[in-house]
């Protein structure tokens, strides 16, 4: 296998929590991202899933240094990203781009889409052959926009079209990596499918690696080669797509997958369900030991005192748990299904 395009080691991003007074005093911190380690290979898609607030977006931004990480290291194409100065970082950005969730707020409403898509050429001082306008129009064509709409403004486009604009801008300089943060979450299913297919085609055509951040597990399954499952700022399980979806070993992954309804009534009504108790704990006050221990049906004393480290338990399959699911016997769910509704 070729060398990773991105190597992330023990990445951390903590936000200070301040008391709300005039003289702000730090009273704690939110460990939004708390020690992520993974590699991304050229041309592959690594899915990053987890529930709201688990740190997916913060992770995505920190690894591109759109947010300054609190700790850890990020190596892009063999170069230490965190050691780079401003100017070096800017020129590095042509290789690493980002696509955002909200197609409404991520585009400047006062700029024409021609200038939005062409901006990366200007910022990087790249003069495409035949001129910027021609390059932008061919990008528009590539993502399924009408090139004649070059001079229109974002508010004249639908959500799906705006997401295409964001994609055109991201691929303008043929980057090696794009972090896609919930790129289809705001879209209707029929439009979502169009954009997913477009992302797929573009990856094949240009060999771009994606980090695909999303909370929708069926979308992540569809697009990813490998998947990392996050919970409270940490990776719980990381393995190939097929391994993860057919034989999850971490109790949290298992519960998360079992919560997704299947669009097939017979299967849906026959399938195993694990109903977790309560809500996600606050990341400013995470549980001791294993962060999942307050909702895990397998938790023991060891779980609340000793942090399980992410370790490889078979080739390419990493998991952070003291008591992984046993795939040889029947599933553990019978002990936890049912309707025990305790919030918190």
């Amino acid at each position: 296998m070729s060398a990773p395009i991105l190597r992330v080691k023990d990445l951390q991003k903590h936000f200070p929590v301040t008391s709300g007074n005039l003289f702000k005093k730090q009273v704690g911190e939110v460990r939004a991202v708390d020690g992520l380690t993974f590699d991304v290979y050229p041309g592959e898609t690594l899915g990053l899933v987890g529930e709201s607030g688990c740190g997916k977006s913060t992770a995505g931004r920190s690894m591109l240094r759109l947010l300054e990480p609190t700790g850890g290291s990020v190596e892009f194409d063999g170069q230490d990203l965190l050691a780079m100065g401003k100017r070096q970082l800017v020129s590095m950005r042509r290789e690493m781009q980002m696509i955002f969730q909200d197609p409404y707020s991520s585009l400047n409403p006062r700029h024409t889409i021609g200038s939005i898509i062409g901006a990366p050429f200007d910022v990087q001082g790249v003069k495409p052959e035949g001129g910027t306008m021609k390059a932008v129009q061919s990008l528009m064509e590539r993502v399924g926009l009408n090139p004649e709409h070059y001079n229109r403004y974002p508010n004249e486009f639908s959500g799906g079209q705006r997401q295409r604009i964001g994609i055109a801008r991201a691929i303008a300089l043929k980057p090696k990596l794009i972090v896609c943060d919930e790129p289809v979450s705001a879209l209707d299913v029929s439009i979502q499918a169009q954009v997913l297919n477009l992302l797929d085609d573009i990856q094949k055509e240009f060999g771009i690696a994606y980090i695909f951040v999303a909370h929708d597990l069926s979308v992540v399954r569809h697009i990813s080669d490998r998947v990392a499952v996050m919970y409270l700022g940490k990776i719980m399980e990381l393995t190939t797509r097929d391994q993860l979806y057919s034989a999850p070993l971490h109790p949290y992954t298992h519960a998360l997958l079992s919560a997704v309804p299947i669009a097939d009534p017979d299967r849906e009504r026959a399938r195993e369900r694990i109903i977790l108790n309560g809500d996600l704990p606050s990341p400013s006050n995470p549980p001791s030991g294993c962060v999942f221990s307050t909702r895990c049906w397998k938790a023991t004393d060891r779980c609340s005192s000793e942090i399980p480290v992410l370790r490889e338990i078979s080739a390419g399959h990493q998991i952070a748990c003291h008591f992984p699911e046993d795939r040889s016997s029947a599933t553990a769910s019978s002990t936890v299904s049912g309707t025990d509704f305790t919030a918190n």
Binding site: E51, S52, S158, G160, Q161, D188, V189, S190, I191, Q192, A193, Q194, L196, N197, D200, H215, L217, S218, V219, R221, H222, I223, D242, Y245, A255, L256, L257, S258, A259, V260, P261, I262, A263, D264, P265, D266, R267, E268, R269, R273, I275, L276, G278, D279, L280, T339, F341, T342, A343, N344
Partner: protein, 341 residues
């Protein structure tokens, strides 16, 4: 007692706007039986919410016109004195929304709001009302209900707020609950809790549910019957298994082919081209025609000139499409949609 608690006939809602008339809901008819769930599914702007708000008598802006019939438990609601409808709301029929925070008052405690919901319809002492509220909060899975009653909405998580909304909606044991995207804003693990809760409460109280959603997984999980909406119209109506296994019209096919599935490895998605229509300038023919890839099979360009009726496919199944049965079977077979034998 009739089996049917809610019967909607030829319901239409129009809004007069500067740009023209918005045909938000066009001639929609459906029935909901006691203790059963009807799912209304469709993309954003297809008229799901407006059709349900109209049933509840909640479409009240000056620019709105509501026509048609809404029989609820034998009573006709369209044209009824708004004060009478208001009395029914919260007592015999209730509604929960996607965003519970906007439906709860920020300055009153959870307890105050729930107690008010009881006392507005019934003369009950504060003590009795409080006891009833506590029981209901326990029932919907709010831990330490006594303490939570003294808290304000912003102090609760999204999942807890939705539980409070459900408690408020069900506190007077209504016969009908309309739930508009009740889990769309929630995480899947919390969605699973809330759907399970709705299912249990339905069994316990015999409540009929109209569940509005865009998530076909939720439909497969919860529905007895399904109505698919597109461009303000009901384009297909069927019992849930028939809808998924014998879907009859191209928009439904497109929806089913657009979703990535949890149980199949990634086949290429087969999306619907184009975008949904503007409800101001609806096409004269079939509302789906501009995006339909099968319209050329219909002779004489009929799809572009003539609106298909909602035709019966069977006693329980109706759809709007000019394709004949042989064509539909052939297309479903070639696109591998539903179950074709």
């Amino acid at each position: 007692m009739s089996d049917v608690i809610l019967s909607v006939k030829n319901l239409s809602v129009e809004f007069a706007t500067e740009d023209g008339v918005v045909h938000a809901v066009d001639n929609v008819s459906y029935e909901v039986k006691r203790g059963q769930t009807l799912a209304i599914v469709g993309e954003s702007g297809s008229g799901k919410s407006v059709s349900s708000l109209a049933v509840m008598g909640l479409v009240r802006s000056n620019n709105a016109t509501v026509t048609g019939e809404v029989h609820f438990g034998g009573q006709e609601l369209v044209g009824l004195d708004p004060e009478e409808v208001r009395k029914l709301r919260g007592l015999k029929m209730a509604m929960i929304f996607q965003d519970p925070l906007s439906a709860l008052h920020p300055f009153y405690t959870i307890g105050e709001q729930l107690i008010e919901a009881v006392q507005v319809h019934e003369k009950v002492s504060d003590g009795d009302a409080r006891a009833r509220v506590k029981t209901m909060l326990d029932r919907v899975g709010i831990a330490s209900a006594e303490q939570r009653m003294d808290e304000y909405p912003h102090q609760l998580s999204g999942g807890m707020r939705q539980r409070v909304m459900i408690a408020m909606a069900l506190i007077n044991s209504p016969e009908l609950l309309i739930a508009d995207e009740p889990t769309t804003a929630l995480d899947v693990t919390v969605q699973a809790q809330i759907l399970e809760l709705l299912r249990d409460l339905q069994k316990e109280f015999g409540t009929a549910i109209v569940l509005i959603t865009h998530d076909l997984g939720v439909v497969a999980d919860m529905a007895d019957d399904v109505m698919v909406m597109y461009g303000g119209q009901a384009v297909e109506q069927a019992p849930v298994r028939e809808l998924f296994y014998q879907p009859q019209m191209p928009y439904t096919w497109g929806l089913l082919a657009s979703i990535p599935q949890m149980h199949t490895s990634s086949l290429k998605l087969d999306p619907i081209p184009g975008t949904p229509p503007s409800l101001i300038n609806l096409p004269v023919g079939c509302v789906f025609a501009p995006r339909c890839t099968h319209k050329d099979l219909v002779a004489g360009g009929l799809c572009l000139t003539t609106r298909p009726d909602l035709g019966a496919v069977s006693d329980t199944h109706a759809s709007r499409c000019h394709l004949n049965e042989a064509q539909r079977i052939e297309i479903r077979r070639s696109r591998n949609i539903g179950k074709v034998d």
